[in-house]
């Protein structure tokens, strides 16, 4: 078991090392000592404040990656997480601001609305695929643009809230917000982050990760999902209804996508604004690739991206081009895909050998019996 975990870490380790190498080369080219730059990044990123900020950044990326991975597992490419989470966050914020009830229940209702809206938005693509055969890549991209327009229309024309400069939904009542987790730092004996609050949505993201892992690996549904992704014709022969599977998967993926924006909304902003953070949906695809759709892998990937985004700040302050971080991010994703392929082939060869050894030892036994 430990050996297996070790093996599964080889590929990402190679990829990260390779990306750091490429970035070092780029740094040398602009006359910066790579050790100095990476030292700065590390020192800066290991303060309590930075750690909180890194995790805050990683939460939506992780949730987004789970949404993408759910699709990947059955061979569907939900490229529309971006639109799904923005539309979901808008409606959840808007409806959630209309009433005030007991705190946790209020939060729960907002979460359910967001999941429902995300699922519905992705469900359109699922419906189009099973009734009209529309490729989900095309339809989800289109739905992104439609979603952006819907947001612009609703924010600009229907809800007239916020101040005059930034269009926004009405502010959520305090009862809807999720309290922060900075006390964990003090509990563990670290200094408390300053100016940043570790977002309480972290707990929900962790639950989501566990639920994802459980669903995919422990349930019948998860098995049928994976079977459909690996071999649709075999899944069909085994009794899986492919159309129903497509629809369910899109609904699930969209439901998870709906939660992407909530950590920021319920932990910090308290509203959906015109400048609500974007791009989590697309970066989530990279994180899902990096983590190979694995619940733990994606968590590490999300943290890595969070770390790099955060440490880019310190590079900028020291006149080192912060684009170096983007180089690393891009190279890692490419390198990890390649490294996984290589390591997988290597593992597979080992297994083929083991299987043929098994055959051989059998025939040797047979010969001995015959002799």
């Amino acid at each position: 078991m430990i050996k297996r975990i070790g093996l599964s870490l080889i590929a990402p380790a190679i990829a990260v090392a390779f990306a750091v190498g490429v970035a070092s080369l780029a740094l040398v080219l602009v006359d910066v000592n790579p050790f100095y730059a990476f030292g700065l990044m590390w020192d800066f990123a290991t303060t309590s404040t930075s750690v909180a900020s890194i995790i805050n950044r990683a939460i939506p990326l992780y949730v987004s990656a789970i949404a993408v991975a759910l699709g990947f597992k059955m061979g569907l490419f939900n490229i529309g997480v971006e639109g799904q989470y923005l539309v979901a966050a808008l409606f959840a914020a808007w409806i959630g601001a209309q009433f005030t009830i007991w705190g946790p229940l209020h939060t729960l209702i907002i979460i359910l609305i967001a999941a429902g809206v995300g699922a519905a938005w992705a469900g359109i693509a699922g419906y189009l695929k099973i009734t009209r055969g529309v490729n989900e890549v095309v339809s989800t991209i289109m739905l992104n643009f439609i979603g952006f327009s819907v947001i612009g229309f609703v924010l600009g024309q229907i809800i007239i809230g916020g101040d005059s400069l930034i269009q926004s939904t009405p502010l959520l009542p305090e009862s809807a917000m999720i309290p922060g987790l900075n006390w964990i730092f003090t509990l563990l004996g670290f200094s408390e982050p300053r100016g940043t609050e570790l977002q309480g949505f972290l707990i929900i993201a962790i639950i989501l990760g566990i639920a994802y892992r459980f669903l995919v690996w422990k349930t019948r549904f998860g098995f049928e999902l994976r079977a459909s992704g690996m071999n649709p014709t075999a899944a069909r022969m085994s009794g899986v209804n492919p159309k129903r599977m497509v629809l369910y998967t899109m609904l699930l993926s969209g439901g998870a996508a709906g939660l992407v924006g909530l950590s920021t909304m319920l932990g910090k902003l308290g509203a959906f604004t015109q400048d609500f953070p974007r791009m989590y949906g697309f970066t989530g695809i990279a994180v899902a690739l990096l983590g190979r759709n694995n619940a733990v892998g994606m968590a590490l990937g999300a943290l890595l991206f969070g770390f790099m985004d955060r440490s880019a700040l310190i590079l900028d302050l020291n006149d080192i081009p912060k684009e170096i971080v983007q180089i690393i991010q891009g190279v890692i994703v490419l390198a990890v895909v390649i490294a996984y392929e290589i390591v997988n082939r290597w593992l597979q060869n080992r297994e083929v050998k083991a299987a043929s050894d098994a055959t051989k030892s059998f025939s040797e036994q047979a010969e001995e019996v015959a002799a």
Binding site: A234, V240, E351
Partner: protein, 509 residues
């Protein structure tokens, strides 16, 4: 053995992979313009030997002589330069390109910076005439039949100047008429001086076409012989080191209880033609009913319709007397239809999944695999281990991924788990296609035992020996219709053949 007339000699070739000796002191000698068969069970080392000859792998020791000349082949390019070409079992053609484009792909004749199509067209025409393989250079590959695609692959190799052809199981993918056509082409190539080395499992074909035969077993060459000196039985014996099992059903175990009843079943192709038309038959407890027919006459569609994957336009399917025509596939399976699908890679396996998940496939919603909405991994593993044990699936463990197993062992797992779970009815579509003789015998034995225990089997096969040997009754399918019911005890392959090709229909009509 005079040196001058040898096209290829592999002398004392040894090739080890870490932990495995794939080729152990192997010798192969093929004369010029000879058709030479290399036979052996899966894993006997044939593929490795061919890869060495084609420069894809380097031997650890041993010599290669091509036309008497000592040669080192480092890459397939070297092999092609020496006039050696290989046609792989799975075709490597670009569907949306023309025949001409496929043939020149990778070695395009150039005129300046342009492709010299006129030259290529002339050369293809010339080769086609020389070797009796006329091809329309401008036809799209996607429109071609399997047999035609294979001809394109052979032409690709000839175009590159090969005079020594390696064919990896060329007949595995062909229907009987196409096999005849292929053999005619091979004879023509031979007459033009081309040397042909082919790998095969089908012993009667080997005996029919080859001039020389090399038998491999466990990485060694165990015999080098000719069709005149050996018969199929002896050849099979050389391959497996024991007697060839004869697929002969013993005393009848047929009962009166109808397990599966098909009544007036019809289904359509997507273009509206009938795929199957008014098919009716019954299978009883303890009975094996064989469906004979040239492939493509509705066999696959019949299976799909019984399984509920293809929609029936009329007719009913009844299992143990209750109508299941309206049930979805999953419920048909759980109510007692097992299936060995015709294409194990496409329909029967999750190659990148462990064996225990593969054993679960098709039974994921019933005990012991399912526990409520969850998967019971422990029970699934235990059951898989029992299947591995009972059906002699050779694998390191139940956690090994299916892709690592040989075809024979994959098939033993599929057949094994379906039989082990004791369905009332088993649909076995080409249960022993493309697997070695040992695994074939094992699966035949299991089918016979299951029949004795009361299983009703619908056997669909292209292997007449299998059909006749196992079946209690034979139905012949032609153009989607059941055209004859025969007693396997009285039928000869010849009489069956006339029903299968539809000749007898006109006579009796």
């Amino acid at each position: 053995m005079t040196e001058g007339d040898r096209a290829v000699e592999l002398i004392n070739i040894t090739k080890t992979f870490p932990g495995v000796v794939a080729n152990d002191d192997v010798n192969l000698s093929v004369g010029l313009a000879e058709i030479h068969a290399v036979v052996g069970e899966n894993g006997a080392g044939k593929s490795t030997l061919m890869k060495i000859l084609y420069g894809m792998q380097q031997p650890d020791s041993g010599d290669i002589r091509v036309r008497g000349e000592m040669t080192k082949l480092h890459t397939p390019k070297d092999a092609i330069a020496h006039g050696i070409g290989m046609v792989h079992q799975h075709f490597m053609l670009a569907d949306n390109l023309t025949i001409l484009e496929n043939i020149i792909l990778g070695s395009e004749p150039k005129k300046g910076v342009q492709i010299d199509s006129a030259f290529a067209r002339a050369r293809i025409k010339e080769l086609g005439e020389q070797y009796g393989m006329p091809l329309d250079p401008d036809a799209k590959v996607e429109m071609l039949t399997i047999g035609e695609r294979q001809r394109v692959e052979i032409m690709k190799v000839l175009y590159r100047g090969a005079t020594i052809l390696i064919l990896d199981e060329p007949t595995a993918v062909l229907v009987p008429q196409e096999v005849d056509e292929l053999f005619a082409s091979l004879k023509e190539l031979q007459a033009e001086g081309v040397t042909i080395i082919f790998i095969s499992h089908k012993l009667d074909e080997v005996l029919a076409i080859s001039d020389g035969i090399t038998v491999m077993r466990g990485g060694k060459t165990v015999a080098s012989t000719t069709p005149q000196d050996v018969n199929a039985q002896e050849l099979a014996e050389l391959m497996v080191g024991s007697e060839l099992p004869t697929p002969e059903t013993t005393a009848s175990t047929v009962t009166d209880v109808v397990e599966l009843s098909i009544n007036g079943l019809s289904a359509l192709h997507s273009d509206g033609r009938h795929a199957i038309e008014d098919v009716s038959f019954k299978i009883h407890r303890g009975e094996i009913v064989g469906i004979a027919g040239v492939e493509g006459n509705g066999q696959s569609e019949l299976v799909d319709t019984i399984m509920g994957i293809r929609e029936a336009v009329s007719g009913t399917v009844a299992l143990h007397g209750s109508d299941i025509s309206e049930l979805p596939t999953k419920e048909r399976r759980t109510s007692g239809i097992g299936i060995i699908p015709e294409d194990r890679h496409r329909q029967g396996l999750l190659l990148d999944s462990p064996l225990w998940e593969n054993a679960m496939l098709g039974h994921q919603s019933v005990a012991p695999f399912a526990n409520g909405l969850l998967v019971d991994r422990t029970a699934a593993r235990e059951l898989t281990e029992k299947v591995i044990e009972r059906f002699d699936v050779r694998t390191p463990s139940a956690d090994t991924h299916a892709v690592a197993l040989s075809g024979g062992n994959q098939q033993k797992l599929i057949a094994g788990k379906e039989i082990f779970l004791e369905p009332g009815v088993l649909i076995a579509a080409h249960p022993t296609r493309g697997i070695d003789v040992g695994a074939q015998a094992a699966i035949w034995d299991e089918l016979r035992d299951a029949r004795k225990a009361g299983l009703a089997v619908l056997l669909i096969s292209a292997d007449l020996e299998e059909l006749i040997g196992l079946s209690d009754r034979l139905l012949v399918i032609f153009d989607g219709k059941i055209v004859a019911e025969l007693d396997p005890g009285e039928v000869t392959p010849k009489s069956l053949g006339s029903h299968m090709t539809g000749v007898s229909m006109e006579e009796s009509a």
